[in-house]
Every structure is written in structure tokens, then in C-alpha cells.
Assembly symmetry: C2
Homo-oligomer: 415 residues x 2
């Protein structure tokens, strides 16, 4: 609270120096004219009870990823991206949570009364659970992000929804997988699990036992209600901090095995070496400024709150730095709320824009000391020329630069 | 994490002693038959993009409060209650957030481009803000509950939705009111504010300046998107921990004044003494078990996770105790996640039900040491006979007892 008071004073001092925009120093009668009108329309009682809707004036929507116009053209690679440019706080509304799948534009319509979860393979006691039985077990509730490995910008991308919209964050509720595995009794040589969803193609992911016994969740709840169909209703596996593909939707079977299993989900970018698997799967520290961001327009010079999201598969976000001069100088942003492990964290930065062209960037430092790299560093790592657009393999967590033109328009600064 | 591991071991030990229900020790071929079927139905692409829906199998809904069948019969006292019996975690989905108003079954349909917030009265610089201007200011994001003063059980109530459904919890994003007031410059003798919404009746609430300058929020965001119309779109005032009526919806005007103003919202239960006002308005420590709760049915004896919500206007929830023998012995429940000030906090309690009739209760202790009282204590405070149903004036934060009959049915134990 004390630091907040200091912030405000600093804001006010600066704000007094910034002419116009925020305050109208009009006299009382003029203010009387300016008060908000009582709207003529009221909403009918149908909208009032049951399950409420958002305002008809709020039209923020998900979009197909990769510039494809229609879901009919997706084929197997079906992805829809969250409108991060409109985000506030850290919760992604369930209706706007991103979805990614390489198994067809396919959302099964599951009756939870008929759904089962089987734990089998190298266990002492194979088990089958109904949804009711799972809900009787000790639960946990945790904020976690999910992110698609393909969540990275390229030269086609204009907005933050296009560059970074394949990550979202929700309050997940469920049972620790370790609770189920301990109940089943894992055999000594069992080093992996294979998690399988309810799809005709039997999409499945191999996960190391160390991760499975650590913090993997079997979730039935999301943002205070049942998991949404697009997120795996009635049951989704959460592998916090791992690439999106490990967070198996419509989970129906977990097989305990002694080795990495190749599955439909393996299409070249996953490491099959069990020794390196856990680290290879861990999403690096990442951040992006969501406002102002590509495609947005500043109405003029003056005070703005720069706002964005940071996250890391390595744990809590420890710090976020912001630059307004393209990386010459960096200043600590403020973290809003309590940073949670493997969860989106909101950062804000108070900025007086002088009206000249500049470049905004953010970088994330996580609790284990990892620093989000620049585009040049990522290009060097993959042995690519730094003066060309990087063609990044796998997860790209490099810094996103936004160029601010003197007319207030915001652009993706990646060539 | 360590304590979680201990928990699991204890659960497994007990679980092994509890026969049946959770585990099916069948052989592999039988398990093969038990695996979840691939559903025949898939959802169409219309549901896939844009703004997603919940499963058609999830039908949890709000209900009119007080047993009234239709919103048409509400008149001025319009209240709809959250289905707490289905809640998980601490976020209330915006579509299920409770709504209460004494100003008619009225939800204004506001165009945010036309909406204004005026700060006037005893200030140096009267101000008018557009929504765009408010969103440029330094923001905060905080979890907070809202609760109607009338959120209490009586003899008509069967379910937890009826007894306690007029409280909900959300992630709110907005500007601290103190930021706006400091910008306007509050005059020395100004001890109160009057906050007014966009209603024909000019519903308004008087709030002490000490509270206004402390933690009151002017919110445009709720659970990661715009505030919903029923919650005050495009702008709601949050007075954390104060009774629901202070959290003015469709906020359009804040007048800084030198005394308590009587308004349409004053209907007898609010304290007008400015010295005692802040404490009188503060909601006491409260909790309720949401599962199992009235109207629910346990399938048989065995292990259950008892789960509920606790909150207090006095700050963070420090501790929750649970009794399964009607108050003879109390045991600490576990708090899930990071308890936030003036926010719902999820508690859980691991319970082996032996199949005999019993009574479940929970009680909340907050960070300033306040303890949730029993019904008898509340009756004594109001000088009512303890053996009769209490007729409580104003806010009732007494303990909610649920009776478990030997057939597994759950009932409100209040006579």
C-alpha cells in the first residue's frame, strides 16, 4: 500500500505537467452537461436470470491462428487465438481461452455421466474412475497458463493476438495426478506415462514420471465452473509450464510405461531423450506488452499505462523490465497481484509519451534466474544470421518489440 | 508442496481402509471394457471460434432469490443468486455472479463511448472522464468478493444457493478511487463521498472518505474482460468488504461532500453515524460448506472432500475450522491457494463418513482475529431467545449447519 501511494504521487506530479487529455477543468454548470446520460434501453428479464451475457457493445473475439479465414479450412491443424490486446488482469475468460489441436477441428460432445478415466499399465492396481469419484478426492486449485509451442511472431503478424494469442491463463481445479498414481501403485521401472484423450486418432503425449508425480493436475474445474468443451470437458490434464500439447484434453486414459512412447502427437519438435525431456519441455521465460500493441492507436502524447503479461515454465515471474527506447535502457515494471508459479503475471509501467517515434519492449526474469532473450540471441542460438527474420525451431520466447510511430500508431517491429 | 505430500499419504492410508467406491480392482480385460467411449457427436465449427460456450451437459444456473418463481414478480427488490453448490476454486464465473438491486429489475444498456464519470462537489478541480481516459490511468487488479447484506439463511431455505448465493468473487481491474480524488483535489472538510449509478431513481451510496482513499476501486474489468452489464458495465465501484449496496453499479458520478447524504439506497439498515460507519459497514468473517450442502445426496459412506468458501470484510481469511459432530470438536481445514484480502478463500477438509447421522459446520477466523459466531451468539446479541429461529437484523454472519441423515441426504439444520 505504501509503495502504491508513492506511485500515485509520482503519477500526479507528472500528470500535472502533461497538458490536457486526462482532465477537463471546466466549471460546475458545464460539468452538469457532461454527466453520463441515462440510457433509453434496458435489458429484458430473459437476460437477467440463469446464465448472464456480456454487453452487446463488447465484441472481443478469438480468431483463427495463422491468418486463415475460416475454421473449415483448418484441417488437422486447428488453432484459435485469445484477444490479448483486450485483456485485463490475469484471468482469461473461459469463452476466450485459446485452443490448439493437431488432431482436426474436432470438439467431442461428451456426456460426463458416461466418461471414465483409466489408470493402467505398470501399476499394482489398475483403476477406473467416474467423474463423481474423481470429484470426491482431495483437490487443489491453481492458476496456470497453457501455451502452444507455435506461439511466436513472424513477419505476417500485426497484432498481439496474432503474435502471442496462443497462450491463456485460468484458475484450474482438480486432483493431483500423483494422488491417482500413488493410489494405483507405480511399479519401480515405470519412468513415463502416456496420457490419451477421447479422439479417434488417439492423440496422446508421453510425460516423464518425475513431472507426473510433481505438479500435474487432472482438472474438472476451470475459472469456477466445469472445464469448457474446447478445453477438454469433462477432464483435462494440466502439465504446468510444459508446452500446450502435453495438456491433454478430453482425458480418458493414462498408461504407466517404462519408456517414451511415440504417439500421434509427436511430429518432430519433441525431445525423445528422457534425460533431457523435462527441461526441453519447459517453456522459457516470456512476456509481451498487450497495451499498447500492434494495430492499436494512441490518441496523442501524454500519460499512458503500459500493460502486459509475463510467464515462465520455470516457476514464478520474479521481475519484468520495460524499455521505451528499443533496448538502450531498461526499467523495472510493477507486478500486479501475487505472482503464481507457471501462471500469467500482469505487469504495468507508467509512461509519458513525448510524441516521438520509439520502440517498446518487455523482458521477463523468472524465479530461477532465467532471462527472456532478444531476437538476436535466439537467432544466434539456432545459428541464423541476426539481420534476417529468425526461423525459430520449436518454442520461441524472444522479446517482442512494438514500434510506436509519431502518429501514435503501433506496429510489430520485427522486419 | 511438502505438506501436500503428507496430505496425500494420509489420504491413501485412510482410503485403503475404506472399502469400495473409489477404486475398482478389476483385471486388465475388464478395464479395457470400462474405458470412456469415443462420443458420436462432435460440436460444429460455429461453436469453435469467437466466443465459446459451456457444455450442453452443464446446466448450473442462477435463481431468483427468496423463492420467487419469475423475475416479472420481483418489482424493486430484484436479486438473483449464484449456484455455490456447483462452485470450484474461488473465481465466480461472470455469467453466474450474483446480482442484487433495490431499484427495480433494471439493467441499463450503456454504450461505453457515451458514458462519463464525473468527480465533483468539494474538490479543487471537478473532473469528467471518458472510459478511454480512465483506462489510461495506473490500474490495479485484485480479487474481491461482493455480498448482499440480506445473504442469510432462514427457515424457508433448502440449498446453499438459497442460503448464501448472494455473494460472489471476481478478479476486478480498475483505478483506485484515491487516484481520481487526488487528481481532483479533495477539500479539507470533505469527509464523505456520494457515489451514484445510471438509474432513473438515482440510486446512490454514501461512503466515508477514509474508505474512499483506502482501497475503493473504480472497475472496468472483471475476470479478464469488461464488467458485465448486470455488474455495472461499463464502470462499477468496488468498496472491498463493505455490504453489496455500496458497490455502485453503472457508476456515473461521485460527489465529494461534508456529511452523510441520505439517498434512495438508505432503507433503514445503514448506520448514519460517521464515526461508527466504517466498522458498521464491514462484513463480518463468514464461511459456508458448499459441498456437501443442503439438497445434495451422498452416494454412501466413505471418503469425501468437504469443500467450502470463507471470506471477511476484515481482511484475509486466516483460518477455517470444520466440525463433523455439530460443534463438539473442531479441526483446521486446509486453505487452497493464496488467501487474498476481502476475497473468497476455498477451504477443504478430508472426511471419512461412517454412515451415521451427523452435522457439518464451518467457521472462519480472519487476520484481525474475528471469529464467525454461532447462531446462538447472534441471537443473544440481538436479544432473541436462542431456542427460536433468529430474526436477525442486517448482516448475519452466523455459522451454517448442514445435517447429514443416515441415508446420505443433506439438510439445512436450522429449525
Amino acid at each position: 500500500m505504501d509503495s502504491q501511494k508513492t506511485d500515485r504521487r509520482e503519477f500526479l506530479k507528472r500528470s500535472a505537467a502533461v497538458a490536457g487529455g486526462l482532465t477537463l477543468g471546466a466549471a460546475e454548470p458545464a460539468l452538469g452537461q457532461a454527466v453520463a446520460p441515462v440510457p433509453a434501453n434496458i435489458l429484458g428479464t430473459d437476460e437477467l436470470v440463469g446464465y448472464g451475457d456480456r454487453s452487446r457493445f463488447v465484441t472481443s473475439e478469438r480468431i483463427p491462428h495463422g491468418g486463415r479465414a475460416s475454421p473449415d479450412t483448418f484441417g488437422l491443424d486447428f488453432h484459435i487465438a485469445t484477444p490479448l490486446q483486450d485483456s485485463v488482469g490475469v484471468v482469461t475468460p473461459s469463452s476466450l481461452h485459446y485452443m490448439g489441436t493437431t488432431r482436426g477441428s474436432y470438439v467431442p460432445d461428451i456426456n460426463p455421466a458416461e466418461h471414465r478415466l483409466m489408470i493402467h499399465g505398470m501399476v499394482e492396481r489398475p483403476l477406473v474412475f467416474t467423474m463423481e469419484e474423481i470429484k470426491r478426492l482431495p483437490s487443489v486449485t491453481r492458476m496456470h497458463f497453457i501455451e502452444c509451442a507455435g506461439n511466436r511472431s513472424n513477419r505476417r503478424h500485426t497484432t498481439v493476438q496474432e503474435t502471442h494469442g496462443m497462450t491463456s491463463n485460468a484458475e484450474w481445479t482438480g486432483v493431483l495426478l500423483s494422488t491417482l498414481l500413488e493410489e494405483a501403485g507405480v511399479q519401480d521401472d515405470a519412468d513415463w506415462i502416456v496420457a490419451e484423450g477421447v479422439e479417434e486418432v488417439k492423440g496422446a503425449s508421453s510425460i516423464p514420471m518425475t513431472k507426473a508425480m510433481d505438479d500435474v493436475l487432472i482438472c474438472y474445474g476451470m475459472n469456477g465452473e466445469d472445464v469448457r468443451p474446447q478445453q477438454g470437458f469433462p477432464l483435462r490434464m494440466l502439465a504446468p509450464g510444459f508446452e500446450g500439447i502435453f495438456n491433454v484434453k478430453w482425458l480418458r486414459r493414462i498408461k504407466v510405461v517404462d519408456r517414451y512412447y511415440m504417439t500421434y502427437n509427436d511430429y518432430g519438435h519433441l525431445t525423445q531423450d528422457p534425460v533431457n525431456a523435462a527441461l526441453g519441455y519447459q517453456i522459457g521465460p516470456k512476456s509481451v506488452i498487450t497495451h499498447p500493441s500492434g494495430g492499436q492507436q494512441l490518441p496523442g502524447k501524454g500519460f499512458y499505462e503500459v500493460s502486459g503479461l509475463a510467464w515462465s515454465g520455470g516457476g514464478r515471474v520474479d521481475r519484468v523490465e520495460v524499455t521505451t527506447d528499443g533496448g538502450l535502457t531498461w526499467t523495472d515494471a510493477k507486478l500486479r497481484g501475487t505472482a503464481q508459479p507457471m501462471a500469467h503475471t500482469r505487469f504495468t509501467f507508467e509512461w509519458d509519451w513525448d510524441g516521438s517515434a520509439c520502440e517498446l519492449q518487455s523482458r521477463c526474469i523468472d524465479e530461477i534466474g532465467q532471462v527472456q532473450p532478444s531476437r538476436a540471441q535466439v537467432a544466434e542460438f539456432w545459428n541464423q544470421p541476426p539481420d534476417q527474420p529468425p526461423r525459430v525451431r520449436g518454442q520461441d520466447n524472444s522479446i517482442q518489440p512494438w514500434r510506436v510511430d509519431s502518429d501514435g500508431s503501433i506496429h510489430n517491429a520485427i522486419a
